[in-house]
């Protein structure tokens, strides 16, 4: 019962999914995802949609969240990216799936960032919300400071920091993903590091 309540509350926006899930748990229906049995062969090497989603969707979601500072929009971006994966069925090289997903996500985030609506409505009220594990609450000021500082960076610095430090891509890979020169990536990384240090020192002084 607790599980049902948690699902209902957690997915209050996806009402249909919650209802279907409750039916499934109470033995009155099939699993909500069972109506989409054919999710394999997304033309990404040997990985199916399910595998790609399990492996990379959270990374896409979190990078988008870092970029936009808004959970709903980050979920929308993640949704767009994976819908694009299904509908366009791009030919992805094995091992390059994550790069493709993050590249598409960053492009989408950039579009949203540039749009007047997000500047006025969302970014006019900045605030990076943490989603910590229950036992981590209260002992994560340092972590939050770093995450918030990354969120406050300008998009061009934020992109390279997230891809380099968070997602572990090399400078060459980042240059390819963002279609910029490697020197530009290195330069942005250096300046982003400097800005982060300044931000974090400022927080420490406060």
């Amino acid at each position: 019962m607790l599980y049902i309540i948690l699902i209902s509350e957690k997915n209050f926006e996806g009402r249909e999914f919650s209802d279907l899930m409750i039916r499934y748990i109470t033995g009155r229906g099939e699993h909500p995802l069972s109506q989409y049995p054919d999710r394999t062969g997304i033309s990404s090497g040997t990985l199916s949609f399910d595998q790609l989603y399990e492996m990379y969707a959270t990374d896409v979601l979190r990078v988008s969240y870092y970029y936009l500072g808004n959970r709903e929009m980050a979920e929308d971006v993640t949704q767009d990216v994976f819908v694009k994966l299904i509908t366009n069925q791009p030919l992805l090289e094995e091992g390059k799936e994550k790069a493709w997903l993050l590249k598409v996500a960053l492009n989408r985030c950039r579009d949203l960032w540039r749009s007047a609506w997000i500047k006025k409505v969302v970014l006019g009220h900045p605030g990076f919300e943490a989603f910590p594990a229950p036992d981590e609450i209260g002992k994560m000021a340092d972590q939050y400071a770093l995450a918030e500082a990354v969120n406050r960076l300008k998009p061009e610095f934020k992109e390279v920091i997230l891809l380099f430090y968070y997602q572990g891509f090399s400078v060459t890979e980042i240059a390819g993903m963002l279609s910029i020169a490697e020197g530009t990536v290195s330069s942005r990384l250096s300046r982003a590091r400097e800005k982060l240090q300044n931000e974090l020192k400022g927080d420490v002084r406060q």
């Binding site: 957690k10 249909e16 989603y53 979601l61 969240y65 993640t78 819908v83 299904i86 943490a130 770093l146």
Partner: protein
């Protein structure tokens, strides 16, 4: 103080509760399914289909119109073809012509503005025209003995612009029906000669 190098670890802690769950996956699959439907609908272009339908309708109307049976009693739509008559003798607007049977049965004589025969001549005096129509209506005898090789034509014009274009081979008038009326021709000849 944390450094950028700690970002992976920090993110796992700070954003621990921010995960892509089954609910989001469901949304994605649902939207992808709808998107595929939309893609199919994108293949449907309403304008060409609409234009094709309109064109087909127009063609159908034209074909049906051409197949429509001729109603001898409807003067405005009647085309009268004189069998063997010289149609160029008195060129008239075929679209506004009316039938011989209509002239014989329905036309008011005072509504005729001219009567012209390619062999005899033409009168435009309304009283003479009316007299000629009365003669036709009173004296003409419907017959099937008309000479199909008639080479004259008779044109009767009405006040509203409609025209009766029929073949003539004295004493016959040849249209949707054939009739014989020698007095019509002699009277018309008299009027024409008197005018000259």
């Amino acid at each position: 103080m944390k450094k950028p190098e700690d970002l992976r670890e920090v993110s796992d802690q700070v954003l621990h509760g921010l995960t892509a769950d089954d609910s989001l996956k469901f949304r994605i699959l649902q939207q992808a399914a709808e998107g595929k439907g939309k893609e199919l609908r994108h293949g449907f272009h309403p304008l060409p289909v609409f234009c094709t339908a309109v064109a087909a309708l127009l063609i159908a109307v034209l074909v049906l119109n051409s197949l429509k049976p001729v109603d001898p009693a409807s003067p405005a739509e009647m085309n009268v073809f004189a069998a063997g008559a010289d149609e160029t003798a008195h060129p008239v607007d075929r679209q506004e012509s009316i039938s011989l049977s209509y002239v014989l049965n329905t036309v008011k004589p005072e509504n005729v503005t001219s009567v012209a025969s390619s062999g005899i001549g033409k009168t435009e005096k309304t009283d003479q025209c009316a007299a000629l129509i009365r003669l036709l209506q009173e004296k003409a005898v419907i017959t099937d003995s008309a000479d199909p090789s008639a080479h004259e034509s008779l044109t009767i014009t009405f006040t509203d612009g409609t025209v009766c274009y029929i073949g003539a081979e004295e004493p016959f008038l040849i249209g949707d029906v054939c009739c014989s009326c020698p007095s019509f021709f002699s009277q018309l000849r008299q009027y024409v000669e008197k005018r000259e």
